[in-house]
């Protein structure tokens, strides 16, 4: 399985730079997920790796070969698309066989490979059907089969699960994870769904406006976000970002309380706290208080959306079904373990210790 290496890759649409110099190495057998908001360039970057978009500057290497100028079929990549992109007038068999025939494989070899792949994906009974006679999940499995059958160096997935319903998405997600293990294949997966990113990825690449914001394992990206963008983007519900100042005795929230662990000279900072790092407490020991504006009862957990007195908002994730009503006064306490601190430039600062010193 091949390694993918991007060096200073840039892409322009007219005068607009959509990919702004990306350096990335995807190790052999690794599953890397590109995640980011709409229009951040994740699909464009994937298409550049596939050879479907020109690379204006920089270099793309696959399996140690420079493929920057190579046509898509000669890069050793296979791609699975969001809308399946199966040839509608061909049967599943012909869809799988098309690329092999183009590659000049003999009829017997084509048949053997198609049958093997169909067996692996349990689509043997679909081979005579045309795409319109298949369900969404079946079509996506055939589309994955079309990628597998070519035995590529790298698999590219462009939001392949977006068109599926929730239950099917979970099933297909686990199937892709299983395939990744069985084939030990290098895979690059584009999604805007964080759950997909967190569950599938060996490493996540967070993209924003054509730049890489952070590269790391799901745990790193979640627990140690590199900047405010990653902090706000990764995690659902999103991390609470509270304005604060960094004084000599610790992080002082706008509302008053001072939380220890770091010292500074009064510069403006942002304290990032995951919603599950907040607990309900008494008014006396609370760091923050607010009025419940929205309560989401999800069965095994409850999500509270509070309006703070200073006009800010706070989200709290509580285990279990918490009996609260809208309009209730809620007092919360911050657990500084796992909290993040961001400087005025939006970059993460190291937060030492997690002890609290009440003002």
């Amino acid at each position: 399985m091949g390694m993918v290496q991007l060096s200073g890759v840039r892409k322009f649409y007219g005068a607009l730079e959509v990919i702004k110099g990306i350096d990335l190495t995807v190790e052999p057998g690794e599953l890397v997920v590109f995640v980011g908001p709409s229009g951040c360039g994740k699909s464009t970057l994937l298409r550049m790796i596939a050879g479907l978009e020109d690379v204006d500057y920089g270099r793309v290497e696959i399996a140690s070969k420079d493929v920057t100028e190579a046509p898509p079929a000669q890069r050793g990549v296979a791609m699975v698309f969001q809308n399946y992109a199966l040839y509608p007038h061909m049967t599943a068999y012909d869809n799988l066989a098309y690329g092999l025939r183009r590659a000049g494989l003999a009829r017997n070899a084509v048949d053997k490979r198609v049958q093997e792949t169909a067996a692996l994906l349990q689509i043997s009974d679909l081979l005579k059907r045309k795409p319109k006679a298949m369900s969404g999940g079946q079509r996506q499995r055939v589309a994955i089969g079309r990628a597998i059958v070519r035995k590529p160096e790298v698999f590219l997935f462009d939001e392949p699960l977006s068109n599926l319903d929730a239950a099917l998405r979970v099933e297909m997600r686990s199937q892709i994870a299983r395939l990744h293990q069985e084939l030990a294949a290098t895979m690059i997966f584009v999604t805007h769904d964080q759950v997909e990113a967190m569950t599938l990825a060996d490493r996540i690449v967070v993209l924003n406006a054509g730049r890489v914001e952070q590269i790391g394992t799901p745990r790193e990206v979640y627990h140690i976000p590199a900047n405010l963008f990653v902090a706000g983007f990764i995690g659902s519900p999103a991390m609470n970002l509270l304005p604060a100042t960094l004084g000599p005795s610790g992080v002082a929230l706008v509302s008053g309380p001072v939380l220890g662990g770091h010292s500074g000279t009064g510069e403006a900072v942002t304290l990032g706290v995951r919603p599950d790092r907040l607990t309900l407490t008494s008014p006396e020991s609370a760091h923050l208080s607010g009025e419940a504006k929205l309560i989401e009862h999800l069965g095994d957990e409850t999500i509270l959306h509070l309006a703070l007195a200073d006009g800010g908002a706070l989200t709290i994730k509580l285990a279990g079904d918490v009996a609260l009503t809208i309009g209730a006064r809620v007092h919360a306490r911050i657990d500084m373990v796992g909290a993040s601190l961001f400087g005025a430039d939006g970059r993460a600062m190291r937060l030492e210790g997690a002890r609290e010193t009440e003002a």
């Binding site: 479907l52 079929a73 791609m79 992109a85 040839y87 007038h89 690329g99």
Partner: protein
């Protein structure tokens, strides 16, 4: 229990007025065709009889025999010419215009919109403006009097049909083309094996338009062809009428038999026509 909804009197009057108007407009278009049809089965005297007879009695089938056996009007030969001319143009238009439409609709290249704009500008150029230099060119090559000048231009597409097909080609999902590129297909192969099968309906519609247009084409065959045996029906019928003005019944039979294939074609493909025009033909 279902209750039938009753139309209000004003709605009923509105519907009646609408249908009456539609019938009147239809009559304007259908009456000449009906007149031609009944005249084809009458004698000359019956055509001009007063009062007018709206049905031929008896039906003069001999007009057909007379038409098909005349030496001064090689109807069968001209019919074959028309089928050849219209059929060849339809096939060439489908192939050449779809290739151009694939390029304009499915490929990205610098200056694409400018070239497409220039192509569409060709629609604004009347044939009469360009025919003289083109005629002289064909004349120099020595190919006037043959179908080459009439058919060859369609090897290079036709602005109207390129414009029409481009809309359909733009509707082909980009991912389908990308998937084929990743599968190692050349652009030519993608056009032929992937895109063309998706666009059967639009291609049939373009083929039909081209057939009808060429079947009725009069001006160019008239200036390029000199031999009666080589004429298509449009020119053949005109020549016969201008030379044998008094033989209305045979003329009408000729006109009837000339129009008949196009009417039949339209009736057979009417639903396809409507479906193709109302949708892109893509799911």
């Amino acid at each position: 229990m279902s209750r039938q909804r009753k139309a209000t009197p004003s709605a009923r009057i509105g519907m009646l007025t609408y249908h009456a108007l539609m019938l009147a407009i239809s009559a304007v278009f259908l009456l000449p065709f009906y007149w031609m049809t009944i005249s084809a089965f009458k004698t000359n005297a019956e055509i001009f009889s007063n009062p007018v007879t709206w049905l031929p009695d008896p039906i003069r089938w001999e007009n057909m025999t007379s038409l098909l056996t005349r030496e001064d009007f090689p109807f069968v030969q001209q019919f074959v010419n028309s089928v050849f001319y219209a059929g060849t143009v339809a096939v060439l238009v489908c192939l050449s215009c779809s290739l151009a439409a694939y390029s304009f609709g499915c490929l990205r290249w610098r200056g694409r919109n400018l070239v497409f704009g220039l192509t569409v500008c060709a629609l604004l150029m009347p044939t009469i403006v360009t025919f003289l230099p083109i005629y002289l060119a064909w004349s120099k090559i020595g190919l006037t009097g043959t179908y080459w000048p009439l058919i060859t231009p369609f090897l290079f597409g036709d602005a109207f049909f390129i414009f029409m097909l481009r809309q359909f080609f733009m509707g082909v999902p980009r991912e389908l083309l990308d998937a084929a590129r990743l599968d190692g297909a050349s652009e030519f192969r993608i056009w032929w094996q992937i895109v063309m099968p998706q666009l059967r309906t639009p291609l049939i519609i373009v083929g039909l338009f081209a057939t009808v247009y060429t079947w009725n084409e009069f001006f160019l065959p008239l200036i390029y062809l000199q031999d009666r045996e080589a004429f298509p029906l449009s020119v053949g019928l005109f020549t016969f009428q201008s030379q044998r003005a008094v033989e209305w019944s045979v003329s009408m039979m000729g006109a009837f038999l000339t129009a008949l294939p196009m009417v039949a074609l339209f009736l057979l493909t009417q639903r396809l026509f409507q479906r193709g025009l109302s949708s892109t033909g893509l799911k």
